[in-house]
């Protein structure tokens, strides 16, 4: 065998396939700045950008922005004869060129997407687009993939034709990408939400929001359903959640805040400036406002500061069916759906009953018959973190109840709230994520 590697038939085949693939693709970054010519070959300008509609899985190029004598004009896709040898050829000899106007729902691929942050929904990560590839699938040029490789990024800095030839290396299907094009004009929404956003877990969304730039994360937040966004905010660090809420329009921030668990909402509010916090509290509904203000009034390093006031309370004089009904009403919130708190007519704590204990019980059985050891472990509102940790350890359970001096339940602290409080220890470096999927 010679020093040069001999290609096997399999290798040759894959090289051939790759060559054909490369020949069938157009590099968006490579084509920008390339000549635009008439059919006779005369030069009329250079290509400034490709325009596609936002939304479709693999959008069709609807037009081109061409720079002619420093004027940027719009060219409809139908007026282009072809993209060949790194040049764009026009269909006709004469055109009425129109000035470019940014329209909602339209993306300029090079200036809005290439080198910008994108969300890879399948890999669940923030990536930067090194290049975009167009493929001709019969009805015209469609955006098929995004190359996020380091080598393609370096290729683009090379001089000559090597800079514009496609080098597909780490290519992701455009269908799995959520683009975050940010318009220079306020109120112009360039992008459409990717339907696959709904498939992401809250923790993944929290990670993505933490990794994005300021405008980009607001774009992503806008594209999320309120409930999904609120779930993600709950999983972020308090600083990150406060920052996102602070950047959002106050009505949207209030909407998100009222959807969040009260303890998580209060943690985020505590990180905000006093004026912003006040503005946001006033934008809430009266009940939510009173609720959050009361939680805010406690010292955050005490039991009351880390508790949630949302809990399922049922009169101890009721029956199992009452407790099951109350739990059914909060099915979507796992923190609350684990147990019911039983109270006497004066609101004083009697016992707690877990959902497991209610399982299989006769609906008509009095709840008092289920009361008994182990009794709920309680702490006072001003108990420090260490005491709460001790109480939780002694309880060997998932939560402790916070009660006032008269033993009236004020809220409860779940194990995850305690983990949050303990995990708030300072990070060692700026380049370090915090526990729980936050950065």
């Amino acid at each position: 065998m010679s020093a040069a590697r001999v290609l096997t038939s399999g290798d040759r085949q894959s090289v051939e396939i790759r060559r054909e693939l490369i020949a069938s693709l157009i590099s968006v970054a490579g084509m920008v700045g390339r000549p635009v010519r008439q059919r006779d070959g005369s030069l009329i300008g250079k290509l400034y950008d490709f325009v596609v509609p936002a939304g479709p899985e693999h959008p069709l190029v609807s037009g081109y922005v061409v720079e002619i004598a420093r004027r940027r004009v719009w060219l409809h896709a139908a007026d282009v004869a072809g993209l060949e040898h790194g040049q764009l050829f026009l269909q006709k000899a004469k055109f009425d060129f129109a000035d470019v106007v940014r329209r909602p729902g339209e993306i300029q691929l090079f200036h809005d997407v290439v080198d910008h942050q994108l969300v890879d929904l399948h890999g669940v990560q923030v990536v930067r687009a090194s290049d975009l590839y167009l493929g001709n699938v019969g009805d015209g040029w469609r955006l098929v993939g995004v190359d996020t490789s380091w080598t393609t990024f370096l290729r683009r800095s090379l001089p000559g034709s090597r800079a514009w030839r496609p080098t597909p290396t780490r290519v992701l299907d455009w269908h799995g990408i959520h683009s975050l094009a940010v318009s220079e004009e306020k109120g112009v929404q360039l992008d459409a939400p990717n339907s696959q956003l709904k498939l992401l877990a809250a923790a993944d969304i929290a990670d993505l929001l933490s990794d994005l730039g300021r405008s980009e994360r607001q774009e992503l937040l806008d594209d999320l359903e309120t409930e999904d966004a609120a779930d993600a905010l709950e999983l972020m660090s308090d600083e990150d959640a406060a920052s996102l809420l602070g950047d959002a329009p106050v009505e949207r921030a209030a909407e998100l805040l009222s959807e969040m668990e009260p303890d998580e909402a209060v943690d985020a509010l505590r990180e905000m400036g006093a004026d912003d916090r006040e503005e946001l509290l006033q934008a809430l509904g009266a009940d939510d406002e009173t609720d959050l203000r009361s939680l805010l009034s406690y010292d955050e390093d005490t039991a009351a500061g880390m508790m949630t006031s949302a809990m399922v309370i049922v009169p101890a004089s009721g029956v199992v069916a009452d407790a099951v009904e109350a739990l059914r009403a909060v099915r979507g919130t796992p923190d609350q759906a684990e147990m019911v708190i039983l109270v006497d007519p004066g609101g004083v704590l009697v016992d707690d009953v877990t959902a497991l204990e209610l399982l299989g019980e006769d609906p008509g059985r009095p709840l008092m018959e289920l009361a008994g050891q182990p009794w709920p472990v309680t702490v006072q509102p001003d108990a420090p973190l260490g005491d709460v940790v001790d109480a939780m350890r002694d309880n060997m359970g998932a939560s402790v109840v916070v009660v006032d001096a008269d033993n009236v339940p004020l809220g409860h602290i779940h194990a995850d709230d305690l983990v949050d409080a303990l995990g708030d220890a300072e990070r060692r470096w700026p380049w370090q994520r915090m526990a729980g999927g936050t950065a």
């Binding site: 080198d115 910008h116 942050q117 990560q125 923030v126 930067r128 090194s130 996020t148 380091w150 990024f153 370096l154 683009r156 800095s157 220079e184 730039g213 300021r214 980009e216 994360r217 600083e239 406060a242 602070g246 950047d247 009222s258 959807e259 668990e261 009260p262 905000m272 912003d276 009266a286 009940d287 939510d288 406002e289 009173t290 609720d291 203000r293 009361s294 009034s297 406690y298 009351a304 508790m307 006031s309 949302a310 809990m311 399922v312 309370i313 009403a329 909060v330 609350q336 006032d404 339940p409 004020l410 809220g411 300072e426 060692r428 470096w429 700026p430 380049w431 370090q432 994520r433 950065a439």
Partner: protein, 434 residues
């Protein structure tokens, strides 16, 4: 929040929607101080980190070789530091992105490659300078650099990558704070305050290549490229609000002025002790002479401890900051919590920068003081594209929105860039003539 199931915690007396407590002036002041405390950090850390081994050595050479004459270079460097650190922090807060990634987004692939190339080379040079500082510091105690430098690299990498750095970081900061002794020694040395004042505000420049070189190195060490990238990423990480930009400016200006003040006293301490006697700085031990008015016979040991602390601190931050910038521009994962398999570029860059810096410093016969000074000259050269791109980003309304830089301040940015360009051109011109 479900209305059906939530019970409302009773509000303590005096709170609630209608009864809000009266906020006293004292409470407002306390709230203001707390807000400032929350913002403090990026500027102070980035500014004070400039007083590393390379900085102290460069300022020492400036004072020992030219007395008070070139103090104005430090004045201009400090003003430039305030301007560009403030800009870096502002860009970080407003865009929420690191410098290298933002340059790529704003200027494209070629600019991205150029800026990350400049940053990596400059940071590699400065990391070399930090290990040179470690070598110089330990050699004062008689420990060979061939032992101390690899050991320090292992120690620093272990601490950074394996955790538990926080306590050690404080120790190193205390050690490096020993260099604040220069303020005392600067006063005790009995400097010529009139000449120092004149030197600080009146520019005069000997047109020799050495003078131009040390002036360029002073600009490069004060306004270090890594400091600009660091402050931006730190500001991004703190998730500061744009409403806090005013407080952040206080932080940045305080840090930059502290850098300038410490640098000023290093220069006048060396001018009052070494320049008047005609002593040149040939190695780290000779630079320690400047501390004799304060520390007497212990000057060398005091200097060595300070140099070691400052060098170890900066040597631990620099490879990490470089790795972050490389991943930022490449759009790859960059967090210490990711494993090497998840973030190979991050850990690879960290390893390459550390190992190369160690190897360069260990080349037999490598003169440490020239390495320290030349790395800072390189910093100044490589600053130019970064500053240019930063000024452009500051003027970009799409990125900066309402916080876009006004025309007046942009002229000041370009004036500073032009000044550095003149220094570098003169330096290269005079080198060619000689």
């Amino acid at each position: 929040m479900s209305e059906l199931t939530r019970t409302e915690a009773p509000a303590p007396e005096g709170t609630g929607r209608l009864a809000r407590p009266v906020v006293t002036r004292l409470q407002r002041m306390a709230a203001g101080a707390a807000a400032l405390g929350a913002v403090l950090g990026p500027g102070l850390i980035a500014g004070l980190s400039d007083d590393d081994a390379a900085g102290i050595t460069t300022y020492s050479v400036l004072g020992a070789s030219y007395g008070y004459q070139l103090l104005w270079v430090l004045s201009i460097s400090t003003v430039a530091l305030i301007l560009f650190q403030d800009l870096g922090a502002r860009i970080g807060v407003v865009t929420g992105q690191g410098l290298a990634g933002l340059i790529r987004q704003r200027y494209g692939a070629r600019a991205g490659v150029l800026s990350i190339g400049a940053l990596v080379v400059a940071n590699l040079g400065t990391t070399c300078a930090e290990f040179a500082g470690i070598a110089a510091g330990t050699e004062i105690f008689g420990l060979s650099r061939y032992v101390s430098v690899p050991l320090s690299a292992l120690l620093v990498s272990g601490l950074v990558l394996r955790g538990g750095f926080r306590g050690i970081e404080r120790v190193l900061m205390v050690l490096s704070a020993v260099l604040i002794a220069y303020i005392g020694t600067g006063i005790l040395a009995g400097p010529d305050w009139g000449a120092a004042f004149t030197g600080t505000v009146v520019p005069s420049m000997p047109l020799t290549k050495d003078a131009i070189m040390i002036a360029t190195a002073t600009l490069g060490t004060t306004l270090a490229p890594w400091g600009l990238a660091f402050i931006q990423s730190y500001a991004v990480d703190k998730k500061l609000d744009t409403k806090e930009l005013g407080l952040l400016r206080i932080d940045v200006v305080t840090g930059a002025i502290l850098t300038g003040v410490i640098g000023f006293f290093v220069v006048i301490a060396c001018a009052a002790t070494m320049f008047v006697k005609g002593t040149q700085i040939t190695d780290a031990a000779s630079a320690a002479v400047a501390l004799e008015p304060l520390a007497g016979p212990l000057a060398k040991e005091l200097f060595a401890v300070g140099l070691l602390g400052a060098s170890l601190l900066a040597a631990s931050i620099l490879p990490l900051s470089t790795a972050y910038s490389v991943c930022d521009v490449a759009g790859r994962p960059a967090a210490l919590d990711d494993s090497p398999r998840e973030a190979p570029l991050f850990y690879g860059t960290f390893a390459v920068v550390t190992v190369m810096a160690v190897l360069l410093v260990l080349i037999p016969g490598m003169p440490l003081v020239p390495v320290l000074v030349l790395s800072q000259v390189l910093n100044a050269v490589l600053l130019l594209p970064l500053l240019f791109y930063m000024a452009g980003i500051a003027r970009d309304r799409r990125l900066m929105g309402e916080y876009v830089a006004r025309r007046g301040i942009t002229y000041v940015y370009y004036f500073v860039i032009a000044l550095i360009l003149v220094c570098i051109s003169l330096m290269f011109g005079l080198n060619l003539l000689h």
